[in-house]
Point group: C2
Chain length 379, copies 2
């Protein structure tokens, strides 16, 4: 996995420069000089951390593969799933964490609080686990209003109750004004992985059907609209939601779902690329099949963004065995959070590690792993 | 617990103003006006977060009791132990989290990396659990050197291996320059609580012997010395260490240890106060029995600090049934991290919820719960 990711990440256009139709990455660094390469640091030609390292794309993957994974050791981290699956006291647990630094703290459809609960609940759900317990760590900036902290805590409590998870332990630190940005939140979570369920990126195989649970790009556009003071016709709300129930409905059809991923930072494009790289398979998408709401399409056209790379916070992408795909899709559509679910492509035994999409005009283009994130601090 | 904590916290000198010999808290706010009190916000007379809210003293407790606990709901969080004990899939687990914002990142005896691993390992150990798995969330400030991040990650890996715990899942976010302070780290951890072990603050009972595992105040003075460029004779190093092995040795003597607490922020004074409040018991300490190294005593004298409130990162305080105390103490002294363990007092059926100490001069003084922390960003 580490080799694949490194190989994908070190070319200027993620290793696919010779493929016709490859989108080039704006602002990509010049070809890296490997003469000074050492593991785990420095990373490529970046002696300092840049925003892209937190974007959930190639640079983030590189930081994990070349710096954190070698330093921490251990095979579980190196598997790079949304959550780790571990055995403890006879129980098979999913365990995951995310820090949340979204700006602004409150946005249409949610705030950093419900985002922090739902995000970690969803990471656990991507192992097939129902979240049971959450931890919560706050880093508050001196001077932030306690009423703001209170509102965020209230939304966390409400989101936890809605998701059927309990926040059982926490910590609060305060940093000086100018050393934070109001409120940062970390959540970690644990949940039980049901017997017979083995969901991880490495399990994608040619023939798998790729299903998206609904319309993409809403969270990113909602954040962008308030951050930049833009409006795109109808108000766009974040899709922030907890996916444990939807995943439960899918697993009731078959425990043999191969891969689940929630396309947050880096969007659907990054999520599917990571799966292709982890499993060493090709993925062929059909662009017209991907549900993109009109407001998202308009906003992206104006801002020069690709909806494929815009973050979601209440969607999942699933790789499902072909013979189960119809039944799983039906179960998803019967759930409120999967009403607009759609088959968007398939896993193929070709262009291994690469994602291609058939465009609306009948052509084919490569869907690269983005280098960073189009919108910094999206979650 | 919440009531007790609130009651302790709302007097200007934590509810003990009428007791002769009470230390007054420098800079304490004027008597609060309860006319505008509402739950969960605003908090007392602080409409905005101040550094003291992160200090691990009365203000932190108030934030948890009046804001987070009501918002999140649930009895486990309200128990306010160092870690939560939860049941999942037939396993009895300890689960805990801490964020680390220590400044500077590197200090004599450690850095934010091993602090983040050992701190969470220790929180789990305070439930009697041996830490098994950790998560790790970074919030990096744009511009921090990747080599610094690498050094921190290396120390985390080394500390995890030393403590026998695996870092299995993680997350990295990047914030703009001026919105962080180099590196903030959150760790969460899970571990198995052995059968028959029930360690929590509420279990302290009159007659329990209070044991401290070694010399206090080293971490705080080590941080202070580098932060202020001071030197106090011999170089003082942080005591940062993982206490899982020491706790294991104590539990091998008897599973019936009543309370364990690692006196980090707020020091021994805050830890013992929290236990007295949680259990509704009195604690009587003997000041001369508390091991304070000469360098710590000198530094505190110069700086006007009380060693009782200075943070430790590799010490624990234990409440042990009287008939087991000698054997537990012997087991502690046989362990490298408990060689200087000492009996420092006892739990009494008097002055409930309050901690008093017999001073070196034969007098008695109240050991208050500190309002904030003497040294901000100590961990």
């Amino acid at each position: 996995m580490a080799d694949t990711t490194t190989g994908t990440a070190t070319g200027t256009t993620t290793g696919t420069a010779s493929v016709p139709g490859t989108a080039t990455v704006p602002g990509a660094a010049p070809a890296p000089d490997f003469s000074g390469w050492s593991c785990p640091v420095p990373l490529r030609d970046h002696p300092r951390v840049v925003m892209g390292h937190g974007g959930g794309g190639a640079m983030s993957a590189e930081l994990v593969a070349n710096l954190f994974a070698p330093a921490f050791g251990g095979a579980t981290l190196a598997a790079l799933a949304d959550s780790a699956t571990v055995d403890l006291g006879g129980a098979r647990l999913a365990f995951s964490t995310d820090s949340y630094v979204v700006r602004p703290l409150f946005f249409p459809g949610g705030c950093i609080g419900d985002l922090a609960v739902n995000g970690t609940v969803n990471d656990l759900a991507m192992s097939g686990a129902r979240a049971a317990y959450l931890s919560c760590g706050f880093i508050l900036e001196e001077g932030v209003e306690t009423a703001v902290v209170g509102r965020i805590a209230e939304t966390m409590g409400a989101a936890a109750r809605a998701a059927g998870v309990e926040i059982v332990t926490g910590d609060t630190k305060v940093v000086e004004s100018g050393r934070g940005d109001g409120v940062y939140v970390n959540t970690a979570g644990i949940g039980l992985v049901p017997a017979g369920v083995d969901i991880r990126p490495q399990r994608a195989v040619p023939g798998d059907v790729v299903i998206v649970s609904g319309e993409i790009g809403l969270h990113g556009v909602a954040i962008m609209s308030v951050r930049e003071g833009l409006e795109f016709g109808a108000r766009v709300e974040s899709d922030c939601a907890a996916l444990g129930g939807l995943v439960g409905a899918m697993l009731a059809v078959t425990p043999d779902i191969h891969v689940l991923r929630d396309p947050t930072r880096g969007g659907l494009g990054a999520a599917v690329n990571e799966i292709a790289a982890a499993a060493g398979v090709g993925v062929a998408l059909r662009e017209r099949a991907i549900p993109v709401p009109d407001q998202v399409a308009s906003a992206c056209a104006i801002l020069g963004l690709d909806p494929m790379y815009v973050a979601n916070e209440g969607k999942l992408v699933a790789f499902v065995p072909r013979d189960q795909a119809d039944a799983v899709l039906a179960a998803m559509r019967a759930h409120p959070l999967g009403a607009r679910a759609a088959v968007v492509g398939e896993c193929v035994d070709d262009h291994h590690g690469m994602v291609v999409t058939r465009t609306a005009f009948g052509g084919t283009r490569v869907v690269d792993l983005p280098l960073g994130e189009q919108l910094p601090r999206i979650c």
